[in-house]
């Protein structure tokens, strides 16, 4: 379970929104909605430990009972997806997916895991491709698999579907929510799209006046 306990963000002395308190159970999705600039993405940045210097954050976030706001960013076990897939451009598709894998295991096992992940997201045979040659939807799916193979305990999605066309958006959205439910991951989704909220189960919190 992912818990936001009285989380507030402020610029100078001006709070961006009234405090945020919410619980997201395993396999559930909480949508953060609200006008641009209200601090939706900043909540995710705070959770991940990457709040910009000009924003002050307060309040605790706990993941499976452990407070995480004081942990180094790479130990928080939060998988994050952005609006653009942000694949590493110097690596092939397979290398990108393998980047998320924990160390250990034989080369054959790692290759099999990567192949299985590509199969699951419908990109079998794309191992050696340059990420730049993929479509937006394909990139989003590779990014999801990369994050999932790192075995996070929660997913933070920062408008990951907004850059995709309608048909691709539905496909990628389905894949993301299916994988999250299968793995019983709590999900926080920042979005402007009511369809996203509906597809996620309808649970949303409005940040700021909307």
């Amino acid at each position: 379970m992912l818990v936001f306990d009285n989380v507030t963000l402020s610029v100078g002395n001006r709070p961006l929104f009234p405090s945020l308190s919410a619980e997201v159970s395993a396999g559930d999705t909480l949508c953060l909605v609200g006008p641009s600039g209200v601090g939706k993405s900043s909540v995710l940045n705070y959770a991940c430990g990457f709040l910009p210097d000009d924003i002050e954050g307060a309040g605790e976030i706990t993941l499976e009972g452990q407070a995480i706001t004081q942990l180094p960013p790479n130990e928080r076990q939060l998988g994050r997806l952005f609006q653009d897939a942000l694949l590493f451009p110097h690596l092939s598709v397979a290398q990108n997916i393998a980047f998320g894998l924990a160390a250990g295991g034989s080369k054959r096992e790692r290759l099999a895991t990567v192949a299985d992940a590509l199969e699951r997201c419908g990109l079998a045979g794309f191992e050696d491709r340059d990420p730049a040659s993929l479509s937006g939807g394909q990139r989003a799916r590779v990014a999801l698999m990369q994050v999932l193979l790192a075995e996070p305990k929660a997913l933070l999605l920062d408008e990951p579907f907004s850059a995709l066309d309608r048909a691709t958006r539905q496909t990628v959205r389905k894949l993301v929510f299916r994988e999250a439910r299968t793995r019983q991951l709590p999900v926080v989704l920042v979005t402007h799209d009511p369809d996203d909220v509906q597809a996620a189960g309808g649970r949303s919190i409005q940040l700021g006046s909307g």
């Binding site: 940045n45 991940c48 430990g49 990457f50 910009p52 180094p72 960013p73 790479n74 130990e75 928080r76 076990q77 939060l78 998988g79 994050r80 952005f82 942000l86 590493f88 451009p89 110097h90 690596l91 980047f99 998320g100 924990a102 340059d130 990420p131 730049a132 040659s133 990369q146 994050v147 790192a150 996070p152 933070l156």
Partner: protein, 545 residues
């Protein structure tokens, strides 16, 4: 932990700059010696000559750089301009100077090319083309080098200016590309390239490398007079030289003040032109004229390199033959052992100073990657040594090095090279680091990878080409440094640059050409390796910068 890379960077640069300047002023502020300097034959004229050559070269280089960049950006040949500028930028001043002498002299390649069929001459004419009293050849040499430097500075400045929207807006209001550039882009760039322009002027006033080969002789520029005095064993002349370095500083500051006033006047003029309403849509004549000027500059620069090669390896070469009478490696044989003996030191200094600078710049750039203001400020501080006349600064540093007890050692020379290499490498690497999407860090962390491992696995590959290019530039700068090597090495450290300067100073052109070739080969190899490796690495990855 958070502050030390920037602190070390600044300490490396500012401590010797401040201490060097203070030491120079302290050692040189002797009224009797100052008076002796001013009364020495030719000094007032030499000072005027320095201001004239430095000032005119700066103004011409700046105007040409602006015009060429404007034409390149609006005409779609930006990449070509960069590719053409880099080799000339990398060519050491000394090598270019030696080459230009071999091209422009009355017995040079140009005159041979038109003799006797066009000029009707069977003997070299008695013309004062090179080392002319007005310093025109020196200005020409400076313009070739500094235009390339300012083109690069302008391209870097353009990264922060929305060029396309502004030019489109100007075009939609009916302005031609050059006028559009002048009123919408040039004022924004000017502030950002203020320091490089100042550095060009300071170098123009205080340089010895080019002035020694191309500058007038009776009297020479003020910096060359000081250089000769500093090499004189007489304590009286030495004290005169020390006082002279202070005068050179004052002269440079005076010149900078004049340049600043000229800049203000130019800005007012551009403002007046901006609201004048003239559109100046006809750009063809300007485009043709500028292309002609650029072609002349690059052809002469290219010929200079060819001429060095011909002179160093050519046999008997009577006027007006265009090519020498066969090959003769006598010069190479006689200077081979000298060249070989300087090679390890030359290469060692270049490698050491470049590697140390690379580490420092990467650490510093990492620290200020998300703060553009701090990045800009740090870049400005690193630029300080380039804004001081080398003679003044290096004499002061020499005093400091003697005091510390490391003068004349490779360590001292490496430190001096580092000071001059840092601003160039910073100029290439810091913007490249800042251009790496900061969200990669978050992405890497969300995959459970720690920051330094993430840097090594993601940021480093994305910076590989910039690192290679900055290393090539750093090594080229180090190879070309003459005065810093001479002063910090106390005359005991011999490199290709010091040997080339000694040969050029002694007037032995063939020997100078041999060293000029060696001096040119270093940057050529460094840039070839950088471009070659950059092209091979990640060649199948389209989005890797």
């Amino acid at each position: 932990m958070k502050v030390w890379p920037v602190t070390v960077l600044l300490a490396c640069t500012l401590v010797p700059s401040a201490a060097g300047l203070a030491a120079a002023v302290f050692a040189g502020a002797n009224l009797d010696a100052l008076a002796a300097v001013l009364q020495a034959p030719g000094v007032p004229r030499a000072m005027l000559l320095s201001l004239w050559t430095g000032g005119i070269a700066t103004i011409l280089s700046l105007g040409l750089a602006h015009a060429l960049v404007a034409m390149a950006v609006t005409g779609g040949w930006r990449q070509r301009l960069t590719t053409l500028s880099l080799p000339l930028l990398a060519l050491p001043h000394l090598a270019l100077g030696i080459g230009l002498v071999l091209v422009l002299a009355p017995s040079g390649l140009l005159m041979r090319g038109i003799s006797p069929w066009l000029s009707g001459l069977d003997m070299p004419p008695d013309w004062h083309i090179v080392r002319d009293p007005a310093g025109l050849t020196l200005i020409f040499g400076l313009v070739i080098k500094e235009t390339c430097f300012l083109i690069m500075a302008l391209f870097a400045a353009l990264a922060q200016v929305p060029v396309a929207p502004r030019l489109q807006r100007a075009a939609s209001l009916g302005y031609g590309p050059l006028k559009g550039w002048l009123v919408t882009i040039a004022p924004s760039c000017q502030q950002q390239i203020g320091l490089p322009v100042a550095a060009v002027f300071v170098y123009g006033v205080g340089n010895v490398d080019l002035a020694l080969t191309l500058g007038p002789d009776l009297p020479p520029t003020f910096a060359v007079i000081l250089w000769r005095w500093l090499l004189d064993p007489s304590p009286l002349i030495q004290s005169q030289a020390h006082a002279g370095t202070v005068l050179l500083l004052v002269l440079t500051l005076f010149g900078l003040l004049g340049l600043w006033a000229a800049g203000r006047a130019c800005r007012a003029l551009v403002s007046a032109i901006s609201v004048g309403g003239r559109r100046q849509r006809r750009v063809r004549p300007a485009r043709i004229g500028l292309s002609g000027v650029a072609v002349i500059g690059w052809v002469v620069g290219g010929l200079a390199i060819v001429a060095i090669g011909l002179r160093s390896a050519g046999g008997l070469w009577r006027f007006p033959a265009v090519l020498p009478n066969g090959l003769s490696f006598t010069s190479w044989q006689s200077s081979f052992s000298t060249a070989l003996s300087t090679l390890p030191m030359t290469a060692g200094l270049a490698v050491m100073s470049t590697l140390v600078a690379l580490v420092l710049v990467l650490l510093g750039a990492e620290q200020v990657r998300t703060n553009p203001l701090r990045r800009q400020q740090l870049g400005q501080w690193l630029f300080v040594p380039l804004l001081l006349p080398q003679m003044t600064f290096l004499f002061g540093v020499q005093v400091l090095l003697v005091w510390i007890g490391i003068d004349g050692t490779a360590l001292a020379v490496t430190w001096m090279h580092l000071i001059f290499v840092l601003p160039y490498m910073w100029g290439v690497l810091a913007p490249a680091r800042a251009a790496v999407d900061p969200r990669y860090e978050q992405r890497v962390a969300s995959l459970g990878v720690n920051r330094w491992s993430g840097w090594w696995r993601v940021t480093r590959p994305l910076l590989t080409r910039a690192m290679l290019l900055s290393c090539a530039l750093g090594a080229s700068v180090s190879l070309s440094l003459y005065l810093p090597t001479l002063f910090a090495g106390a005359g005991r450290i011999a490199t290709a640059a010091t040997e080339a300067a000694a040969a050029a100073g002694a007037g032995t052109l063939r020997l100078a050409a041999v060293h000029g070739i060696l001096l040119s080969l270093g940057p050529l190899c460094a840039f070839s390796a950088a471009y070659g490796l950059g092209a091979v690495l990640y060649r199948h990855r389209k989005d890797v910068p």
